[in-house]
């Protein structure tokens, strides 16, 4: 404010000092968030370094056995990473198309009234505690999926002469399995995909739509060939963010997917979905529930946390970069 010598207009010293004090206090609140980040990094780094003093980093990254709590402990992170990937892939199959379709519907087709009902509903879908999703998957979804899906699918119908009978055996789901865990994680991230994508779709200016209509496009053409391509950066960034959320999802997969890490079976891919597995997050929860303070196993939890942190942070940064780099600017 007026500081250049206008003594009469200047606030007295006390008032200026008070202003400065408030400004500093508020800045301190904002700076606290930097401290939180620093705290997370330091906490993870400290124990991770100790951990890698005792377990080789190569062994950690390439080991195919994760058995920290039984017998001779082995710390190979690969089965946890593949377990996490499996769950994420299933959730992606559920959530990415569904989320995008919901976003297109909300942004291009739905009436204001439908939107007013759908958006809060989706918010509730995202707000249901993940522990309840896990319980839902374990107690209701798995039995349901087991009932709905046939155990054998005849690729060549039985009874056709000459041809040999060939049936494809679909293994039934175990109590803990990747499929139902992945499905509920998919449900959890649907609202994230749909809300961020919808923001991207609705920020495409109407002039583009009108121009396309003017050229004789149908609504279908406008939606799929004009609006969606124009919003690609936002959609991709919503995908990456949602997948990062799926990777970090903890309670639903801990309850529904179980706690026995498996390397993927490359022979029969479907078997991977029906059997028990373990994700990075679930392994952390398992150790936290079992281990007391100190020891290599305790430190391994932080190494897993570091892995998870790097993975999700990387994805979030990528999402942000995609959004900034490939954003179409309209004026």
């Amino acid at each position: 404010m007026a500081t250049e010598g206008h003594d009469t207009l200047q606030r007295d010293g006390l008032a200026v000092r008070k202003e400065r004090l408030y400004g500093r206090l508020l800045a301190a609140c904002a700076a606290l968030t930097l401290l939180v980040t620093a705290g997370i990094v330091l906490a993870l780094l400290g124990q991770t370094i100790v951990f890698f003093g005792e377990v080789s980093i190569v062994g950690y990254l390439t080991g195919t056995d994760w058995t920290p709590l039984i017998g001779e402990a082995s710390y190979g992170v690969l089965p946890l990473v593949t377990g996490t990937l499996l769950v994420t892939v299933v959730s992606a199959v559920i959530a990415l198309p569904t989320g995008l379709a919901i976003a297109i519907y909300l942004s291009e087709y739905a009436t204001a009234r439908t939107r007013a009902v759908l958006k809060p509903t989706l918010e509730i879908l995202a707000g249901v505690p993940t522990v309840i999703y896990g319980y839902f998957a374990l107690v209701y979804l798995t039995p349901l999926l087991n009932e709905v899906f046939p155990t054998r699918i005849g690729l060549i119908p039985a009874g056709v002469p000459v041809l040999p009978e060939y049936t494809f055996v679909v293994p039934s789901l175990r109590t803990f399995n990747v499929l139902s865990g992945g499905v509920v994680v998919g449900l959890i991230i649907i609202p994230m995909v749909s809300s961020i994508s919808e923001d991207a779709l609705s920020s495409v200016p109407d002039s583009l739509r009108e121009a396309a209509y003017g050229l004789g496009s149908t609504k279908f053409d406008v939606s799929t060939k004009v609006v969606v391509p124009a919003a690609t950066s936002g959609i991709v960034s919503s995908y990456v963010l949602a997948l990062s959320r799926a990777i970090g999802e903890t309670m639903a997969v801990t309850i529904a997917v179980g706690s026995s890490p498996q390397m993927p079976d490359l022979g029969n891919v479907l078997v991977n979905l029906t059997q028990e597995n373990q994700t990075i997050t679930a392994a952390m929860v398992q150790i936290a529930g079992a281990e007391s303070l100190g020891g290599v196993t305790y430190e391994s939890m932080f190494a897993l946390g570091m892995t998870l942190f790097v993975l999700t942070l990387g994805m979030n940064v990528v999402a942000e970069l995609v959004r900034r780099r490939y954003r179409e600017e309209y004026d």
């Binding site: 930097l34 939180v36 124990q47 519907y105 309840i132 279908f220 970090g248 946390g305």
Partner: protein, 547 residues
């Protein structure tokens, strides 16, 4: 497309156009289907959990008929009347709807708030709560009084928060020295301090604003009389006199003020007061008839045992979640106290203070990016932060209320900041410029112009974040919070417990009734709590958006 004229008829014979139309319809069909997947998944979740928790198939058809007659039909008819859809009754007075909304909010809001305060204060020891209520409210009130009496503002502005801190320190000292002596008092006397005094002050100041200074004093006096009267009522009727105090001064008094206010200022809106009466009365009449007619009701797991008893891992019918429920509420309160002021402060800095250019501007950009990255950090990693910070660095015991609250507070901090930023951004710049034009400083502008305008939005965002956090489980597991405790936490430094943790811990219980009954009911309680918080947030938003 429905308006087929001759022209389009001729066009639609074209196969290509027909294909185009089909394609469009299929596309919309797919989109609607996808949307339904989301909605139906949510419906299935609620349906399954509701079925197992409430057991509606165990009830006789006459049970449904009974409640349909006593509760559902009257409240439905009443709602239709209030919204003006029952034409033959005549249009309702325009005030009816406002009064009705306020009546529901006051009745159920004060009821829930009163019961929560009663449960939490009983768990934390009423004498401690009473001490802190007095110590935290008297110093700032003295400062305010001094400021008003002498018109002095230089030091009383910063003086208020400093006096609160002073009060906190004094509270600790008093609690240590006098706590045990005060514990000898009967509980209901302490609840007079915890509930009746604040209610008298609050309702009194409301009455001053709505009526006059004299009526304000009379209202306060009436509340102060109602408190002990409630205690006497409790003693006579044979329930906890402390609960009587809470119900009389915390629930009855605000409802009474609402009635008085309606009679005085919105006389035409009086039918709006009947809403809660119709609802509660209908349910009570239904319950009485159910008992006297001997109708088999719901085969529900959502019983008083579940809500008011402590856990049993061997007998499903004796399992309760009272300690976990109260523990969750206490954690949420700690979380709110920790994250709201800091989050709002950070948001104010970023939106109102941070320079746009230069080093300060760069710092603000870094802070913004940092906050959005923090929001993307998995919650389980926050658990590790809590573990390393509070257990390793500070050497606290595992799983304390204060650690749980602080860890979750850090977890929701970025969400609170972003919500507060949005609320601040929605305040029009004209208001700020008007304030500057009148000679106000930046802080005065923020304090007197921007904050009041942005507060509802901030509250909405914070309540939503708290609702999200009440279901957080992973960080609590990481910092070693115990799932099963047989009594609620007794203080900030006592072991915490939380409802979602109990659900997690018992999902693997071998007795099937846990999975298909107790846990469903516990999940339902958690879901209802969450929905209630969301509804509160939406109410706050709607109420202030309309004004």
């Amino acid at each position: 497309m429905a308006t087929d004229t001759e022209d389009t008829d001729w066009l639609s014979t074209d196969a290509r156009l027909r294909w185009q139309r089909l394609k469009g319809r299929l596309f919309v069909g797919v989109l609607v289907l996808a949307t339904l997947v989301g909605v139906l998944a949510l419906a299935a979740l609620f349906a399954y959990i509701g079925r197992d928790a409430l057991g509606p198939f165990g009830a006789e058809p006459s049970w449904f008929l009974l409640y349909f007659g006593t509760a559902v039909t009257p409240i439905a008819a009443y709602t239709l009347y209030v919204t003006g859809r029952l034409r033959w009754l005549g249009d309702p007075h325009p005030d009816v709807r406002t009064v009705n909304d306020t009546a529901f909010a006051v009745v159920f809001g004060s009821l829930v708030l009163g019961l929560v305060v009663y449960a939490v204060a009983t768990a934390l020891a009423p004498e401690d709560v009473a001490i802190y209520v007095v110590c935290l409210s008297v110093p700032p009130l003295l400062v305010r009084g001094y400021a008003r009496r002498y018109g002095e503002t230089h030091f009383t502005g910063p003086g208020t928060p400093v006096s609160v801190l002073f009060g906190l320190g004094a509270g600790v000292v008093v609690a240590v020295t006098l706590g045990e002596t005060l514990a000898l008092l009967v509980d209901w006397l302490l609840f007079l301090v915890v509930v009746t005094l604040p209610a008298a002050a609050l309702l009194g100041s409301l009455a001053v604003r709505r009526f006059s200074r004299r009526w304000g004093y009379l209202t306060s006096a009436a509340v102060l009389v109602l408190g002990p009267a409630g205690a006497i009522g409790g003693i006579v009727a044979g329930f906890d006199p402390a609960l009587g105090v809470v119900l009389a001064s915390g629930v009855l008094a605000p409802v009474g003020l609402l009635v008085a206010d309606t009679v005085a200022h919105r006389r035409g809106g009086w039918p709006g007061l009947l809403g809660p009466v119709v609802l509660i009365g209908g349910v009570l009449v239904g319950a009485t008839l159910e008992r006297s007619l001997g109708i088999t009701g719901l085969n529900s797991w959502l019983t008083p045992t579940l809500v008011f008893d402590s856990w049993s891992s061997t007998d499903p019918t004796a399992a309760g979640i009272y300690p976990q429920l109260v523990g969750s509420i206490i954690i949420v309160a700690v979380m709110a106290v920790m994250s709201f002021p800091v989050g709002v402060g950070a948001a104010i800095y970023l939106e109102e203070y941070a320079p746009e250019t230069g080093w300060g501007g760069r710092l603000a950009t870094v802070l913004d990016v940092n906050i959005s990255n923090l929001a993307g950090v998995p919650s389980v990693v926050y658990g590790l932060l809590g573990l390393a910070l509070f257990r390793n660095a500070f050497g606290l015991a595992p799983g304390l209320v204060i650690t749980a609250g602080a860890t979750l507070g850090l977890l929701i901090l970025p969400i609170v900041i972003v919500a507060a930023q949005e609320a601040l951004r929605s305040v029009p710049d004209e208001l700020r410029q008007g304030s500057y034009g009148l000679g106000a400083s930046r802080w005065q502008t923020v304090r007197n112009v921007v904050l009041p305008e942005a507060l509802p939005g901030m509250l909405t965002g914070t309540i939503l974040a708290l609702g999200r956090a009440i279901g957080e489980t992973a960080p609590l597991v990481m910092i070693g919070v115990a799932a099963t405790r047989f009594s609620p936490p007794e203080g900030l430094f006592s072991g915490a417990t939380a409802l979602p943790l109990q659900i997690f811990a018992s999902a693997g219980n071998a007795i099937p009734e846990y999975r298909t009954g107790v846990l469903a009911a516990a999940s339902l309680v958690l879901l209802v709590t969450l929905l209630a918080m969301n509804a509160t947030a939406i109410l706050v938003r709607n109420r202030y958006e309309n004004n």
